[in-house]
Assembly symmetry: C2
Homo-oligomer: 336 residues x 2
């Protein structure tokens, strides 16, 4: 729900023509390397060093297991976010699917333009138009009904240029990193601007992150009884935006302690990294830098989606790790 | 923060003269009984049967480990709540402690009456007065500063009639139940009307429930930078009341799946039990019934605090378990 003016422009731009990269799938081999998709180099070494330090009992940087909290942004950090946030693509698909039940949409903006295939005109209404689309596709139903709709979409819809399921648009190196941290006593959380009820449908199956470890944007919920059954209705009022300064707030609300590791990719993650890595203590902060226009996408300071500008400057000033996708990742996406 | 008119009357009533019960502390003995403080009987049997059923692989009621979510109310369920919610006693103590910094309180209600020892007059202002007290004692500081204040109080303050630390006003049988469920693959959550930032200070040490598994009432938070350090300021605006119909909402917001076991003691827990036990499937719901005026307190349908009225009727109609403190618990409080 953290769709802003920045994302609108991203959507109306002609969809980036993605080059489907037929990457070689290496046979599974026994290896001591917990991060086989990460190329050797300073980034990989920094991650391994950090994990060694916090897990070395008696060492100066040892961190007790309950305090080993790691937080991950989702869009652009765990899965791709081009040519538009995937949750917005879901919403647009839902408008088309729901149109037969809403004959009034044929003449009512932003739906009329959307149904004619004119996304640019539909989103000309800015945040109000986005709000209308989110309300029409994400609210007015029970949480269970919404989860079923998301499940149907996430298991069938394909990325517009890569022709892959969206769960296959996740990053193989980040899957390995999540698993590596968990093997070392970390509890891994997603802290994303995406909708909490949207992400929870696939977070456990895709990332092995259970619903209770997902923090996201949310709308108001209302408890009701329908046909004798207690249900929660998703109401059309925004409750919380888990982006920018909202991320440390979401972390406190849901986790209740400071993370010791934070991973993001945009300025919307900057406060989360500040909250994690400015206080004294052992910690690790990393930005995923999208530098690979061939295998994925390349964008940063001037991007309308996933803009990384202040974050790059602050990372340089504070010595945070900036991962370079082109050189640091041997593989981008998991095998199909 | 879920202080309502009901609780006000409870506070202004003369504090119940508690009989300090010098219970026998049994020596620790090796036993196969996971619930030694629970007397043999239908309640204990129902709990053990439920755990056996959900953990029997291949059985009709088997529940996979990730779905074994159990939720517990705190006030009156995990620890006592008489003669007033302990968090309100904390707030009253804080008013006294902060008075030297607030000379204006000598003439400003509700503080003036409180400082004269006249709790009844102080709370005559109803919810507005309570709100003033909560705002003065729970907000306008960082989350870290608040946690430090709660820590100081919870490790030193004594219950007004039982003369015990409040963490020793917890129920020994519930400690055993929490541990028993966890040993059987359950994830245990606190879902309480109490303040989330208040409970998290002692939830891990007292109940072995980590901060990220505590759901409670909360105020708004604001991210700021103070002297170069990122902090979260507790603002004087209420954000969420985790009571009554708010409990299923809090469960969805924080946990994201339906519990299969719910434990409460008052009508404020009714919707949480409905949400857990009305849908089809394997589940267990229990009310703690305060029936022991000698060792603890006895109250239910007419109580101004922890009122259990509709809940008793619905439990009878639906076959939920109603635990009887006087007969079901061999021990109430843990050894000092």
């Amino acid at each position: 729900m953290a769709m802003t003016m920045r994302s609108i422009t991203a959507v109306v731009r002609p969809f980036v023509v993605g080059v489907v990269f037929a990457f070689a799938i290496l046979p599974a081999v026994a290896t001591d390397d917990p991060l086989p998709s990460w190329n050797a180099g300073a980034t990989k070494q920094a991650i391994v060093d950090f994990v060694m330090r916090v897990t070395t009992e008696g060492g100066p940087d040892f961190v007790a297991v309950p305090e080993r909290v790691a937080v991950f942004d989702n869009d652009g950090t765990l899965w791709a976010e081009q040519p538009a946030y995937f949750q917005l693509l879901f919403a647009l698909d839902r408008v088309k699917a729901l149109a037969p039940e809403h004959p009034e949409w044929q003449t009512q903006e932003p739906f009329a333009s959307l149904l004619k295939g004119d996304v640019k005109a539909a989103l000309a209404g800015g945040e109000h138009a986005i709000g209308e689309i989110i309300a029409a596709t994400h609210t007015g139903m029970t949480t269970d009904a919404f989860a079923a709709v998301v499940h149907d979409w996430i298991t069938t819809a394909k990325h517009p240029t890569k022709d892959r399921l969206f769960t296959q648009m996740t990053y193989q190196p980040m899957h390995e990193l999540l698993a590596y941290l968990r093997q070392n006593g970390f509890k891994t959380f997603i802290v994303s601007g995406g909708g909490i009820d949207f992400m929870r449908v696939f977070s456990e199956g895709t990332y092995a992150v259970p619903p209770e470890q997902v923090v996201g944007s949310s709308g108001k919920l209302k408890f009701e009884t329908e046909d004798g059954q207690p249900v929660l209705i998703k109401e059309p009022a925004l409750d919380f935006i888990d982006d920018g300064p909202g991320k440390p707030v979401g972390i406190q609300m849901h986790i209740g302690r400071k993370p010791i590791a934070a991973f993001g990719n945009s300025d919307g993650d900057l406060q989360m990294l500040q909250y994690t890595c400015i206080p004294s203590g052992t910690h690790f902060c990393m930005f995923v830098h999208h530098t690979d226009a061939v295998r994925e996408w390349a964008y940063d300071r001037d991007s309308h989606i996933g803009k990384l500008d202040k974050g790059l400057d602050e990372a340089a000033a504070r010595g945070w790790t900036v991962m370079d996708m082109k050189t640091d990742w041997g593989t981008i996406f998991p095998p199909e």
